[in-house]
């Protein structure tokens, strides 16, 4: 299965800029479907970026993060060709993990 996570990590020498786009419904639990039934909450709760065995960025998300969430941050260090590991877990316990090469 194709990964739900798309990442672009770009090194500019001293720092690495990371942009991630994840496919996820991020249902808030406040929206009703066409039949008027509430769509139960289903959203990513934790998203972690690891570089060189250490967390460089940890996101705790609520249901107010948009569908197919996007996030951008930068960290010091990171070399071209090195691995960046990204994983998420949602409120139903589903997870996905991927590894991206820093460009």
């Amino acid at each position: 299965m194709a990964s739900t996570i798309r990442v672009r990590a770009t090194s500019s020498g001293d720092t690495t800029e990371v942009q991630a786009l994840i496919q996820h419904p991020m249902d808030s639990g406040f929206v009703k479907d066409a039949k008027g039934e509430t769509i139960p909450p289903h959203f990513i709760q934790e998203l972690t970026f690891e570089y060189d065995g250490k967390s460089v960025f940890v996101a705790d998300w609520g249901a107010a993060v948009s569908k197919d969430p996007y996030v951008k941050f930068s960290f010091k260090g990171g070399k071209k060709g090195d691995d960046l590991k990204i994983s998420w877990v949602d409120n139903k316990g589903a997870t996905d993990t991927t590894t991206a090469k820093i460009q």
Binding site: T48, S55, V56, D60, W61, A64, S66, K72, V89, G93
Partner: protein, 164 residues
């Protein structure tokens, strides 16, 4: 198999328990206490803060203190959001020793939207996209040197993001 950081994965828990048991039998309980320290270092998902209705309650639950407004916190959000379902919001700060950055939308059913842990080597700057139920203040909280700083901006929403 994927691994997670809040211990939700049954496999990982089994492996950890197994490792701890082996260590107890073999080497006394020093590795076991290391495993506990490791688990404690992975801060748990702040469930209560995300359930809080008001921005003040969410900040109190998340940090246990109140924030003071600071012009060193730069909150970037549109004046008007045509689609409340996708509002691009970013925060950066010139403050030093930043340990976390959080986003709150005051008028949402649950005010806290996202909270980011910023390790020492990571820049204190985050961009993301949030849902807004209606026109509301957006609050950015920056935790730096153990203190809380905030910036607030009103974003007008013409179409709500919560199917209202």
């Amino acid at each position: 198999m994927t691994t997670t950081h809040n211990g939700l994965s049954p496999t990982r828990r089994l492996i950890l328990q197994g490792a701890a048991t082996v260590a107890l039998v073999g080497l006394g309980n020093i590795p076991f206490s290391l495993a506990q320290a490791f688990a404690a270092a992975n801060d748990k998902y702040p469930e209560d803060a995300f359930r809080a209705k008001s921005d003040a309650d969410a900040i109190k639950s998340l940090y246990g203190k109140t924030a003071e407004p600071s012009d060193k916190v730069k909150l970037d959000a549109p004046e008007i959001a045509e689609n409340g379902g996708v509002v691009p919001i970013s925060v950066s700060t010139s403050l030093a020793d930043v340990t976390s950055i959080s986003f709150l939308v005051s008028e949402n059913p649950n005010a806290l939207a996202a909270s980011y842990k910023i390790p020492a080597s990571t820049m204190p700057s985050v961009a993301n996209r949030l849902k807004m139920a209606k026109t509301s203040n957006v609050i950015a909280i920056v935790e730096a040197g153990g203190k809380l700083y905030s910036a607030t901006k009103e974003v007008k929403v013409t179409v709500g993001g919560c199917g209202g």
